[in-house]
Symmetry: C2
Subunit: 191 residues, 2 copies
């Protein structure tokens, strides 16, 4: 418990709260995690949590970060992005998916919804928008995001056990192909 050099006591307290909150939100979700619980885990007074971060919601948003693997994946070659995205989701590590699950499930809170919208625009749409072919890049990107969120929703949010029990390679084959068609396939006919 000696003071770490270069970090004030306040900074260490802040970090301690943030760490405890990350863990708890990831494990138990947003609303099931109490400010008091975070405080006890971090070894501080409950009122301090609010004083440092303003509100439980603001604290949650600070912990709601995206695995850097996403930036890497989205920056890769466009002609295999469909399959790589599907594979990344189906084979996601437990730790990485916990944070996303908490975020996808906390959509009753308007501020969190806005944050999710921003994350989606930055991480899922922006990295590919100007590389997509044809005059309808904006629609392709948005449809890709919707499809990706759909697989996340069924795998993480709903946590469908039947989908989970199916052969990963076949799910990846179907979903990857569907994603790829939207990204680089021909423009569909008007109806």
């Amino acid at each position: 418990m000696t003071a770490a050099p270069g970090s004030t006591k306040a900074a260490r307290t802040r970090a301690s709260i943030l760490g405890a909150a990350s863990e708890l939100f990831r494990q138990n979700g947003y609303s099931a995690t109490g400010v008091r619980e975070i405080a006890v885990t971090a070894g501080v007074d409950p009122a301090l949590v609010i004083r440092y971060f303003g509100s439980k919601e603001a604290l949650f948003l600070e912990t709601a970060t995206i695995d850097p693997i996403w930036a890497e994946r989205m920056a890769g070659p466009l002609d295999t992005l469909g399959e790589r995205t599907a594979r990344g989701l189906v084979e996601a590590r437990q730790e990485s998916q916990g944070s996303v699950t908490a975020l996808l499930r906390a959509t009753e809170t308007p501020g969190i919804r806005a944050h999710l919208q921003q994350v989606m625009a930055d991480q899922l749409i922006a990295p590919i928008l100007d590389r997509l072919p044809g005059p309808e890049a904006e629609i392709r990107a948005r449809v890709f995001a919707a499809q990706t969120l759909g697989l996340m929703y069924l795998l993480f949010t709903v946590d469908d056990p039947i989908l989970r029990s199916m052969p990963p390679d076949r799910i990846i084959a179907y979903y990857g192909a569907a994603l790829q068609a939207v990204l680089t396939g021909p423009e569909p006919e008007p109806n």
Copy 2:
């Protein structure tokens, strides 16, 4: 305020609570709607709401019904189901989508999550499972459900204004084609 024939006072009270709850959940969502608020709207005492339905969650589940249009649509011809599904979502009436939105957003509560899983299995998967081609009907059906939930999630749960501002017919063209490929397209190659 005369007694309706064939309905006891208790039955009318129950119906009144259910009606008020449906409206409020649809408009403001699950957690933002209080038991006290439902009670005031229904003109009864807050304790009665719990007494009649057991819990706020159980009451919500009774109001979380699916628009009958879904059963109709899913029972129709398989070779146009992709486009009809996409169109149904993009052109959904305000009233019909409110109930679905409330359900899709309330996924922090485990019991509601279980209900959503059941609804999905009954309404989205069961109606097409034995009509899908090839030996991988189960995977096709699940992937179809994931994609459909994805469009619902972006349109209703996240309520993405940019997607909403795009030409409906083009969204339907892209998403309908992606859905249709999963339903009746060729089996994708293994990776």
